[in-house]
């Protein structure tokens, strides 16, 4: 094994120390070193966005960042969105109630992208939502339900999560 580095990376609030080969991407590290398989790989060249996570609060294509670069970083993934009791957060709930997912493979990437958008811009226009969501590819939904879900989450009008 070539160049290995010990990194400290905080994922969804939990700190991990892990030895990683330099060429493993953050996606590889999250998925296989840390077992957080919710982040998916759809292209590994930065186009599809299925691998989107937040790094230090910024939406990031984890297939384009090496794990070693995330040393000392705070990473948020889809596994960290729900409440401690497992309750879906309003964005997740809005995706469910608006049928914004079908096969689910692109869903974590869209959730993290939307999370970043709404944190930075809690009251986006429809055009701003479409512009941001155009960063990721979905093959199943035709996008409309995703845009509606993000709209609903922004409006705070998401259905309450089912108990």
């Amino acid at each position: 094994m070539s160049d290995v580095h010990l990194i400290a990376i905080t994922v969804n609030g939990t700190r991990h120390e892990v030895a990683v080969e330099a060429r493993r991407t953050l996606a590889d590290v999250l998925r296989h070193d840390l077992g957080h398989t919710g982040t998916h790989l759809g292209c590994e060249h930065g186009i599809c966005g299925a691998c989107t996570v937040l790094v230090d609060g910024q939406p990031t294509r984890s297939c384009l960042v090496f794990g070693v670069q995330a040393d000392d970083a705070e990473v948020e993934t889809v596994e960290g969105l729900a409440g401690a009791d497992g309750a879906l957060n309003p964005l997740q709930d809005a995706f469910g109630s608006h049928h914004a997912l079908q096969c689910g493979f692109c869903t974590p990437g869209f959730l993290m992208l939307a999370t970043a958008l709404l944190r930075e811009n809690p009251d986006p226009t429809d055009d701003e939502i479409r512009e941001a969501m155009a960063s990721n590819i979905c093959r199943c939904t035709g996008y409309q339900s995703i845009l509606e879900a993000v709209r609903a989450a922004a409006d705070g009008a998401a259905e309450p999560a089912a108990p």
Binding site: D3, T60, V65, S135
Partner: protein, 295 residues
Amino acid sequence: MKPAAFDYHRVDRVEDAVVRLAELGEDAKVLAGGQSLVPMMNFRLVRPPALVDITRIPDLRYIGRDGDALRIGALTLHREIETLTDPEIVRGYELLPRAARWVGHYPIRTRGTFGGSVAHADPSAEWCMLAVLLDATIVVTGPAGEREVPAAEFFLGFFTTALEPGELLVEVRFPRPRPHAALQEFARRHGDFAIVAAAVAVDVDGDRIADARIVVGGVDEVPLRIEEAERVLDGAAPGGEAFAEAGRVAAAAVDPSADVHGSADYRRELTAVLVRRALAEAIHTDRGSDGDGRG
């Protein structure tokens, strides 16, 4: 698509980057935002034996005014340009935040860097085009110290610049504001690299155009300044006829290649259209109208 193995180095000072690059030899590559480099590594199109990660050098992230000049540190994120609103800094340079919205997509802009894009030298990349358009100076540092390269001499070919082995791009400096400036792009999908892009800047002297600049991307190996089209505009009255003529002359002056996204003739057609549209937009941009530059 996993990259070939490499050794990873991280530095937090410019001097250390220069020393490390010298030690590692000319096959080592600088890692900044990675948004262009890492996909190529994942495809194994490039296989640098070593990467020097410069992203944690704090001194390279800044945007500031120095009189008329605008200075942008190499590690400034695209997103930071996009969200630049401070009038003290941006006045006269509003084209840059407008152009930033064309750079890839939102998550690319939160990671990719201004300097990285210029050093990568894709001829249709927005910052490369604007550097040529606005006569920027590229500030570079290396084993022999710091030097300045005019943008017109910096881009040498596809993905090829005047950076010598072991040199690091540290700043891009724009000398003077050009309030009448615009960028128009055409791509098949939102966020794609432009098939053709046109960047223009003009001064309006009374009711005549002066000091026109026209740069087209996607028609050559480098962002191409089209002086023949500029001459059409100098002293002309701003308006549809002059803009259309400049567009026609620009189209006739370029010799683009074909690829899967468009034929050579199409690129010529787009050159004419986008130059014309960019000029029409540029004339009004000093009034703060927010042309969105969609081609």
